[in-house]
Symmetry: C2
């Protein structure tokens, strides 16, 4: 173990910046750069949208811009950091309001809907996040809005759990929506072709009698027969019902008015 690419124990890298957000885009000296992080990031996002994250290689991005691969390393420490820039860039598309409205359910519904649309536009996002938060500026804006909407008296740890539940649902729901498309890209089969090929396997599992839940999923689930957005909204309502149960009871407050910012709420929930 640990034979080769290890560096020192405490230095990390040459610059000493621990993440991409602490590294300045350009120093003060030297000629003016021909490109920019934003341009590189947007190009990478465009390629990944069209052909997947793995297609957004350094060479491909550079070729799209019209330069050599190594030029990109003047702007970005490496590909992993560029991917973090891509993630935060598309997070900016959520464009949450500056402050929660006071109606937590409407706020989270808005955020979830925009997240779904954004994730459908950028199917590589789940793969690119793969766990680490990275605390980019746009990611922070989303966090502030979403967690702030749940600021109704719970401890911050519980607020984070609830916010994670909602965003986690959005992620997995969109992944399900994209599953057919991904499988198509992987196997070259259409949806009908995949169903036809899988039918023997699924039938074998069902006929074995050892998978009652799978049987019910195949036979009784209505999600495949609903519209994608309708299924998403339905599940989201269930998740928000769960969240609501974890929130402190709202109607009777024996204490003075909470410190939540009360905005004039003529925005009504857009639930169906």
């Amino acid at each position: 173990m640990a034979d080769g690419t290890e560096r020192g124990d405490d230095t990390g890298d040459d610059t000493g910046y621990v993440n991409i957000w602490m590294r300045p885009e350009r120093p003060s000296r030297g000629p003016r750069p021909a490109y920019s992080r934003a341009q590189i990031t947007e190009t990478a996002v465009r390629i990944a949208d069209a052909e997947g994250l793995e297609a957004a290689s350094m060479r491909r991005i550079a070729a799209e811009i019209g330069t050599g691969a190594m030029s990109l390393y003047r702007y970005v420490p490496g590909r992993d950091d560029l991917i973090q820039l891509m993630v935060d860039h598309v997070m900016g598309e959520l464009d949450p309001p500056d402050r929660p409205s006071g109606d937590w359910r409407a706020d989270l519904t808005l955020l979830a809907g925009r997240s779904r649309a954004m994730r459908l536009r950028h199917p590589w996002l789940s793969e690119a996040q793969h766990g680490r938060p990275s605390f980019g500026p746009n990611e922070l804006r989303v966090l502030e809005f979403g967690v702030g909407a749940l600021d109704l008296g719970l401890p911050i740890d519980d607020m984070l759990v609830l916010f994670g539940l909602v965003m986690g649902y959005v992620d997995s729901a969109v992944q399900d929506e994209l599953a057919w498309e991904k499988e198509h890209r992987r196997s070259g089969l259409s949806k009908e072709g995949w169903m036809g090929r899988s039918a023997p396997y699924v039938h074998q599992l069902i006929n074995s009698g050892e998978h009652p839940m799978l049987t019910r999923i195949v036979r009784d689930a209505r999600q495949p027969h609903m519209g994608s957005e309708a299924a998403f909204r339905h599940g989201l309502e269930r998740v928000l019902d769960c969240v609501q149960a974890a929130l402190p009871p709202v109607p009777s407050l024996p204490f003075p008015s909470p410190p939540k910012p009360r905005h004039d709420d003529e925005r009504t929930g857009e639930h169906g």
Copy 2:
């Protein structure tokens, strides 16, 4: 686009099998194979456990077994399918009981605890799943047990949403636990070193006054000061409270306790 690795439009691959589970391990004719899918999968898992998923390359696995890289392709169509075998293999470690016990909360607690332990043993799992279900036998056993535990009168779609909430929480919680370790492996910094380097960035964000929730996370969150397992159990109880609220009211129980989730343990004096 689509200039190179594209195949036909409807054939997919040579064999016609749509996923790895439909492809038989070995045909009837020819010499007896020297290795097996199980051996290859276990070797790959061992490498990924120790050095990450990307270290489990075909060449590396083959070298560990003591053969050439191309020999593995007699057992597995490609690396993506091998990763699916790895995922299902570690899913087998959950080893759920044959049938739910009747106490859905105990069952899901058991499954969540085993999932956390398993994911800590195999930190690459989240990266390897990256969205697609694949319906392997061990994955199906977990699905049958977990969803079956929630079979209390809800429609199957809602059961799936609730089960996904619980497993999604486990995933994200373990990812948080592993975040330090991953960052350490990436930057070569210790936890204290990372905190020291990030302090200026975090302080800048906090001092800007535009991130009240981040401020509360840094100042008030008790999770970093709890044990990892205690934090996990605490959040899990919150999630299960949410799930309970979505379940139909219990038909008959000896205890007439209302299903109201408790939202305040002992949170006293949160502001210093």
